[in-house]
């Protein structure tokens, strides 16, 4: 219980950091913190498999990708954000965000979920039950996610192909690294 509070506070701090720090790299690092915090909460909530998945996928793959792109794109460019030229955007965003957030918080605070009397099985959230679900009734959804990942792969391929390359060659999957020449500005 206390753990959750502590982790939560740290996580919130990191989350705020994501959106306030000036350097994108710092943001990405803060987000790593958030995802790790989440993983810990998942653990507390008896979602062990997801905690592991969160660490591997988010902290391991996604955030690395982010950092990679951040460094790629910020290299040799101005790193900090200029002044916000959209008048009132910042204030309006914060206010509406707070309104929505507070509204939802009030909703949550007034909600009293029914607590189940039965105790949680020890295997809840483990690899086995989730696997049974995923490969059982939700198999198609899993397949769908797989298709999405495939799509992602194709997407990276398509989007950062050099001009004149009509069909996919045996190009390495790492995304958008070496193929960033000649495209993008080619609007007639």
């Amino acid at each position: 219980m206390v753990g959750i509070f502590i982790i939560g506070i740290i996580m919130l701090a990191a989350a705020v950091a994501v959106i306030v720090v000036r350097q994108p790299v710092h943001s990405a690092l803060a987000l790593v913190g958030v995802t790790l915090g989440l993983a810990m909460i998942y653990l507390i909530l008896q979602a062990e498999f997801l905690a592991v998945a969160q660490v591997i996928v988010y902290a391991g793959a996604i955030m690395v990708l982010f950092l990679f792109v951040v460094t790629l794109l910020t290299a040799g460019k101005e790193e900090t954000e200029t002044k916000d030229l959209l008048s009132g955007q910042r204030w309006a965003s914060v206010i509406t965000g707070l309104v929505v957030g507070v509204g939802l918080a009030v909703v949550i605070a007034t909600h009293h979920p029914t607590k189940l009397a039965t105790s949680l099985s020890s295997s809840f959230g483990g690899l086995h039950p989730i696997g049974q679900e995923l490969w059982g009734p939700y198999f198609l959804l899993l397949a769908g996610v797989a298709l999405m990942l495939l799509t992602g792969a194709i997407g990276v391929l398509v989007l950062n192909r050099t001009e004149g390359t009509k069909a996919p060659r045996s190009r390495p999957l790492p995304h958008g690294v070496s193929v960033s020449d000649g495209e993008g500005e080619s609007r007639p």
Binding site: V18, L50, I62, V69, S93, N160, H175
Partner: protein, 100 residues
Amino acid sequence: MISVQYVVALAVLLFMIGAIGVLVRKNPLIMFMSAEMMWNAAALAFIAFARNYHDMSGQVMAFLIIGTAAAEVGIGLAIIVAVYHRRHRLDIDEVSKLKG
């Protein structure tokens, strides 16, 4: 026993911060990260409720979210790279030729 409300409240705050982040930051990467944060907040809420209801489907949902996020990030970053690799600044407001 942990009250699910606190966890969901945490998720709400995370969601809120993510939403605000998308709207206030000009760097598309950070905006995208903020959006990921919103997804994560949702996943957190799912897991919390799954814990509350002793129902695995919430966790399955969270798993789907993580998996989908991975695919989405791949595509998203590719698009961002494609759009920004020639630009001087990572500024979303510069990408506003289409309007009206």
